[in-house]
Amino acid sequence: MKSTRLVAAVAVLGLAVAACGSSAEEVPADGGGLGTAQQPVSIRVIANDAFAKQWQDKLVPEFNKKYPNIKVTIDGIPYNDQLAKTMLELTGTTATYDAVLADDPWIPQLAKTGALYDLKGQELAKWNDPEYDWADFHATPLAAGEWEGKQYAVPVRSNLLLMFYNKSLYKKAGVAEPTDETTWEQYFADAQKLVQDTDGDGKTDSWAVGTYFTKDPLTPTVWQTVLNSDGGKLLDDKMQVAFAGEAGVKALQTQVDLLKYAPPGASTYQFNEPLEAFRQGKTATMFMWGSVFKGTAVDKETTTLTPEEVGITTMPAGTAGPGAHRGIWSAGISKKSEHPAAAWTWLQWVTSKQGEQFVGKEFGTFPARNSTLDGTPPADWAGPVYQALKDGYEVASKGQMWRPRLPESDAVQQILALQTSRAMSGQATSQQAIDQAAKEITELLKTKGYGQ
């Protein structure tokens, strides 16, 4: 006990000497160090409120078993305002936050501020863990943290828009269960039969589908996926609108048509309503984020369904193959951090094989590493889910099934959300909505200096 203290004290002295000469403005050469028992270092992380506390309570103590002298504080921000808040925090002269968590479409926006380190770059290389295996990441989730050739963030919670289906309702309707080869034509043919009266009282009490239909930036992701699985794109490589033609109208119309087979009131569905409808056995399929699987099929207090009843696969296929839509939470390190060594050490640990398996087991978080995807799933129910995830990763990369990769991503998605909502509520035809969206997005990109 005494000797460790002595060692620690010497280490502190050494650090103090080493720190001499560096001005307060600059990051010390040791990146703030990894702390000692006497002088632990503190880092602060800005995260989504949905899992900040979970991380603080379970992930941080697990991390501290290996690095006891790095104190980690995780602040949760409500999702809807997280991007704006993160932008405000990142762009100051001093950094409140050392590490930043970001949703899939935010990376270009955050990277453009110049406030994030290139994680594969030279500046952080000094503190690289030699065992950290970049090559083990599946390319699809890893690409979410990349922008203009640099890796600004690394996946911490992966997710995909997939198709859930209720096997009992398929059976009752006498329809074969969907596979990853089911096409949209087949799906719609089945959908008519899946709107059914299950208890024989003459009233329809079960419908074919639930998903996002309301005015929400996530709603257009459904038809974006349809567009992608027909080989179409929202924006081309020159950042010009590429959905304005027939393909875009057809894709949007597909989502509008889904509404016919959805429960009454489905046009207002956001995240929760389709989830509840599916969990109550009211809809036979649901296009939803894979992460809800546990709460939908396993947890008795949230669902009426069982793991045997719930299937999960990629979304129906278009001409180019099945669909999935990427939604990866990634984390990066702030350049203004005074403790980049500790912050990068923490992030490497969280996204290491060990860290990823820990969060997979504790929280049911989906992995981004091939070794985890191919390894033993943390529970029996996770087997088929990991399979769907792997299939989804493949098709998502092939069809570039993600939201636009540019700093104006959220502005683009807002325009799409509004026009999608107009089409959903019958205020505009799909053609009109697509035309208007194309016009507004072109206008927006023009003012932002993209050649149009």
């Binding site: 989504n48 949905a50 506390k53 602040d75 405000l88 100051g92 109550q280 992460s291 669902t303």
Partner: protein, 272 residues
Amino acid sequence: MVRRYAAIAGAILVTLAFLFPVLYMVSISFKLPKDIFTVPPRWLGEFTLDNYVSYFHQARILPRIVNTIIIAVGASAISMIAGSMAGYALSRMRMRGAGVVGGLILASRAVPPIALVVPLFLVARKLGLTDQYITVILAYVTFLVPYVVWLMRAFFRGLPKELEEAAMIDGCSRFGAFFRVIVPTSITGLVSTLIFCIILAWEELLFALILTNDRAVTIPVAIAGIAADTEKGGMWGPLAAVGVLTVLPVVVFALLVQKYLIKGLADGATKG
């Protein structure tokens, strides 16, 4: 007499109608997620306290309620003092430009919150004052003061003018007359305005969200976090439970001061 009972019955019915969504919220808060969305709707499901437990820790409800109380009380106190003094000057004192000043104070409330919150954050950061009670309190004061000025101006106007004349003849200064005579006489209006201030500060989200990080985070931020929980879904039970928990302190406060909501002291003052 019949008329009176009809009025009482009407009052109870109207109150119940307004409370219906609240009662529904209470019922949700005691249900399991699988019993919340049912066809047909049910008032009661399998009884559970899970909703009160599950997020209580995760969303750090208790410390955040304490933060909310400190901020709401602090902001309301400052606003009530500054605002009622200004309202008094505007309603009962001779001064040039009362109209312009009153109009300006009121118009200051017209600034859209979104235009205030970003610059306030930038200033607070420059001064190292983010995530502090005082920052949020002062931000709330900006939108509470105009309301207090305007409401108290109206209440003070209704007072008979003999009030402070008598007090000042007795040797009180203006300030003395204001605090010893006017304030006690207007207690109903003051308490009503105070309740309004506390409620507004209690439920404010945008400023709290941007100006705090951890230590000073208030309940509406916690609620927004639960509502936007895109991980699990099915958070309506916990949301309703937190909703109930946040309503309780204000209701208790209102019940404690309800005697001031009934008794009009103006009568007594003029007669006495």
